[in-house]
């Protein structure tokens, strides 16, 4: 994966101006790190926060999309005559109309098609869009459109798609050229001489993001200028895509995304809907609201590709890993070749291992395209790697924590030049986590004779991103009354970005949180920011915020120094006053600094500098799970969970813990319940395109007993030392549960999710566990 893929930006990333002054890392903090309640908590829970889907404008029309009901079809004819006569209809757009033939690329790396491409490559490809006075009228009109399809042979599984006789999803074949295999050392030689060699095939589910707020926007034209209120992780990414599609100057596209109800990677960029809404608004001269339905979201708005991962591992008797070899197969759907992206990263990187080979094979199928999904590829890779580590531990008769501690990597083995990690808390996460969890005792606790079996498991993980980096530009304004304004382009996608941003300003300038206002995620009023994704918002923005506040402080100190006739270095900001460090009697209240009063406002600008050269910056995590397995019904209940995380400095303990809890819950979905079901054998349609058939975990699936252990090694790679946590929080969860299930019932499940059916099947096929897997060893 290239950095651009993580940042969702065309071409080379914009550079930020070099920082003018960089503050030193904090040695102690008064506000940063504290478990502060979200600054917008009241607005979010009371309903006064205006999410994009809440935006109502005068004369606003409502739009609905007609999508192809077939897995593979060619549109022969679209008859909108009846639909155009239904009540309230103001505009209908179909392929071939003036202005509607907009080029489109399925994902940034996808191949060229167009907005209403008549070649429908999956159930959900868009055929027409309607704007009407009400959403009900829009839906009625959609139903009244008559489409003649030429239904084509379809292929919805990778295995079928790779056959030479398979129906062609696209011109140029279903099988994109596989990237060259990753390789270091000599795996074949290592497998020949190793003491222990194991091979397993693991499979993972196709997961749907299902954010609570659906995908869509409200758009409004003012002459040549377009404003888009979009539920997005990145307003600048939306601006770029909309401007490119509609051939508009960037300056004429203002995208606002103050709140958003979940994205998980699926909203890093926009979709066809924003373009359709803009075209409809142009045609009708009225604002248009277009949010897709839950079913459309399940079919068309991205997924985590299902993967089949064959993993072979070899170790010495003492547990030293000597070789890892993986082959990953997956599909990014009809438009994206990214069916295996990110899967092998943990295999290459997490453990010290001299001989590693990773191959990947993707294929196009007639199914909805993938989109980045919280740590793309990593939960799949961890599912395989961490299942394998557990199997190796059993085979070697070693404790799974000890085996992992035996193979800690101190350098980034798959990056050029093998740079050392700025910090790696992986070993500490294992040790501290095991201690707090009571691992050794829990592991040895005798099994109850009843049919409900108990077990504990561990799994580790790391995230490829999480370092952050340029570009980021942040402005902090200090007003004459000592209140402040924080202006940044980044979206707060639910992780608490606004809150810890304000905490940093408060830390640096001593302004109370309730006197800090925040402007963010608006291309019209804030500076360029990459989308909030890749667990990089905190590591990217926090040093820039720190620098901006520091810039204000420097200016203020300069003014106070002049007035007090003291050197600036002798001054510090304390409780709304600038005070001499050496003679605290010498001080001046902010309001009494005359130069500041004359200026009325101080503006500080902070830029995000580069990360130190020759260092790899990554967050690490280790999860511990305790489960109960009902061997009669196949039910798996996660009863206790502990997550140990090295994400550098914690900016806000409360939102940090909540992100980890959310990651655990999502990982429980991966491990136990979630799976997009397609009717592969018949019509190739999605059968689970709703919240009942697609089994998101519920509150009753997540344990109440959850603990977060923070490992902070005082990383100074940036002035805040914060690494990302959003994605690492969900990477090791599912394999930790699987390993606990294996400990409970003595049989390893290699297919996720571990549904009741699979647990019962595994138990039925159970052979007596080898001695080494028995308890107490």
């Amino acid at each position: 994966m290239k950095p651009e893929d993580l940042y969702f930006w065309d071409g080379p990333l914009p550079e930020t101006q070099a920082p003018t002054s960089t503050p030193e890392p904090w040695t102690e903090t008064k506000v940063v790190g504290k478990p502060v309640t979200r600054v917008d908590a009241y607005d979010r829970v009371s309903g006064s926060a205006i999410y994009p889907s809440d935006v109502i404008l005068p004369d606003m029309l409502h739009a609905a999309i007609l999508s192809c009901p077939h897995a593979h079809a060619m549109v022969k004819k679209v008859d909108t005559s009846a639909a155009a006569k239904t009540p309230g209809v103001r505009a209908i757009l179909v392929d071939g109309q003036v202005g509607a033939n907009v080029p489109w690329y399925g994902g940034r790396s996808g191949f060229a098609s167009r907005l209403f491409d008549p070649h429908c490559r999956y159930e959900g490809d868009e055929v027409a869009v309607v704007a009407a006075d009400t959403i009900y009228q829009a839906w009625d009109a959609v139903r009244a459109i008559k489409v003649e399809y030429d239904v084509l042979p379809r292929v919805t599984t990778v295995a079928e798609a790779m056959k030479p006789t398979a129906p062609a999803v696209r011109d140029g074949g279903n099988v994109p050229q596989a990237p060259p295999p990753y390789s270091r050392g000599d795996v074949d030689a290592a497998f020949k001489t190793a003491d222990v060699v194991l091979e397993h095939t693991f499979t993972t589910p196709c997961e749907l993001h299902n954010p609570m707020e659906l995908f869509g926007c409200v758009v409004k034209w003012d002459g040549p200028r377009l404003t888009v209120w979009e539920s997005t992780q990145g307003v600048y990414a939306v601006q770029s895509t909309v401007a490119r599609a509609l051939n508009l100057p960037l300056a004429n596209v203002r995208v606002i995304g103050h709140y958003m109800g979940g994205g998980f990677g699926a909203k890093l960029d926009t979709g066809k809907y924003s373009i359709m809404a803009a075209l409809l608004a142009k045609k009708t001269g009225r604002p248009v609201r277009l949010f897709v339905s839950r079913e459309e979201a399940c079919r068309s708005m991205g997924n985590r590709p299902a993967n089949t991962i064959t993993l072979k591992a070899a170790a010495k008797k003492d547990g030293t890993l000597v070789a890892l070899q993986s082959r990953v197969v997956g599909s990014g759907g009809a438009y994206s070749e990214g069916g295996t992206g990110g899967v092998d990263f943990v295999i290459r990187e997490l453990y010290a291992c001299p001989n590693v080979k990773c191959e990947n094979q993707s294929a196009y199928v007639n199914a909805g395209p993938q989109r980045a999904f919280r740590a793309p590829g990593h939960p799949q890779g961890a599912w395989a790697l961490e299942g394998m580590m557990d199997a190796l531990a059993a085979k070697l008769g070693m404790d799974p924590v000890d085996l992992r501690l035996k193979n800690i990597a101190l350098v980034s083995q798959s990056r050029n030049g093998n740079p050392p990690y700025s910090t790696t808390g992986f070993a500490d996460c294992l040790r501290e986590g095991a201690k707090t969890f009571g691992w050794a005792d829990a592991r040895r606790k005798p099994q109850a004779p009843a049919h409900i079996k108990r077990g504990v498991g561990v799994a580790g993980g790391m995230w490829q991103g999480g370092s952050g980096g340029p570009p980021a530009t942040v402005i902090v304004k200090l007003f004459a009354d000592g209140s402040a304004n924080l202006n940044m382009g980044a979206a707060d996608i639910g992780c608490g970005t606004k809150t810890w941003g304000a905490q940093i300003v408060s830390e640096e300038l001593g302004v109370p949180l309730d006197r800090i206002s925040i402007e963010h995620a608006d291309t019209g009023t804030t500076q360029f920011a990459t989308p909030s994704g890749g667990s990089k918002t905190a590591p990217t923005e926090s040093p820039a915020i720190h620098a901006a506040a520091f810039d204000v402080k420097q200016q203020l100190m300069g003014m106070a120094a002049e007035q007090l006739k003291l050197p600036a270095a002798d001054l510090e900001l304390r409780g709304g006053e600038v005070v001499s460090k050496t003679d605290p009697a010498k001080k001046v209240a902010l309001g009494q600094i005359q130069a500041f009063g004359r200026r009325g406002l101080l503006v500080g600008i902070g830029y995000r500098g580069m990360n130190p050269a020759g260092k790899a910056v990554n967050p690490f995590a280790v999860h511990f799970a305790e489960v109960e397995v009902n061997t009669r019904t196949g039910e798996v209940k996660v009863v206790r969970f502990l997550a140990a995380h090295d994400s550098g400095r914690i900016l806000n303990l409360k939102t940090f813990q909540n992100q980890v809890f959310g990651g655990i819950t999502m990982g429980i979905g991966f491990g136990l319940t979630e799976d997009r079901v397609m009717d592969d054998k018949q019509l190739g349609k999605v059968l689970s395109a709703n919240l009942h058939d697609y089994k998101l975990p519920t509150a009753l699936d997540a344990p109440a007993d959850k603990t977060v252990v923070v490992v902070d090694l005082h990383d100074t790679f940036s002035s805040t030392g914060a690494k990302g946590v959003g994605e690492p929080a969900t990477i090791p969860t599912a394999p930790a549960i699987a390993n606990a299930v294996c400990h409970a019932i003595g049989v390893r499940l290699t297919d996720a999710p571990m549904s009741r059916a699979r647990v019962l099947r595994a138990l039925a096929a159970q052979k007596p566990a080898p001695a080494s897997q028995k308890r107490g060893e």
Partner: protein, 323 residues
Amino acid sequence: MLQTFAYVRAGSLNDAVKQLDGPGARVHAGGTDLLGCLRDDVMSAEKVVSISRLDDLRGITPAADGGLRIGALTTIADLAAHPGIAEKYAALAQAAAVVASPQLRNQGTIGGNLCQRPRCWYFRGDYHCTRKGGDMCYAIGGENQYHAIFGGGACWIVHPSDTAPALVALDAKLRLISAKGARMVPAEKFFVLPDENAQKENVLAPGELVTEILLPPMPAGMKSAYRKVRARGSWDFAMAGMALTLTMKADKVADARIVLSGVAPIPWRLQAVEKLIIGQKLDAKLMTKAADLAVVGAKPLEQNAYKVAMVRGIVAEGLEKLL
């Protein structure tokens, strides 16, 4: 979005019955299933008759014979929280408590829960299947992990209700009314197998509705329970479940009724198992025998054989727990 239909709010039961007497009329109680079905084009409606004003159909009251009368409009939440039900008819209270989600239990009614349409994804989806008047059950050759292992044939749906098996086990009766008059039907006789009629799940005639449920007085010493296994912890239908009543006399089973959910197009009564244990001492050996007998005759499809093991497990666990 929905098809066009007339909407009527009935002022009295007589009015409701009159309004429903005609083609294309549908009863609207809680609406949690009806509106979804209309939105998804699972069925059509020319007229939707709301019975929400019929307060007589709401509430739980003692019946003359010492049993209980439950109005069909009683919400599932009220049923789950009623102390009299919890005390004497635990299976029903437990079944109600595990229906769907809190929001749906607050809105959904017991009458609606019995009359809801099946959740088969082919029936609910864009497939013209047997149950919708087509000539094919897509579950047979398709994705059938949640489908029936008993009573299939022309169609392999499972009945989605949790309260239905509890009511069958508790030997409840349903009062039905239509323009032609009222009738009482035992809960057990209310449901219809696909081989009898693959397009309806119960005996309700067009224009007929359930008005109340009568629970008989419970014999002293009778215990009951409902157990549900679902794919996730809440907001889900049964993959398999069991309503069980058990009356012990000394150390022997005097009476028992065992009814499964989630495995057949109707609540699936296990009379052979009941016969096996009645009059017997319920020891570990007999429980194993009972669990084995419970799945005799199961005809799993390609992906749902796990339900055989699951039913065996639920029966064994249920008998052990209730004893």
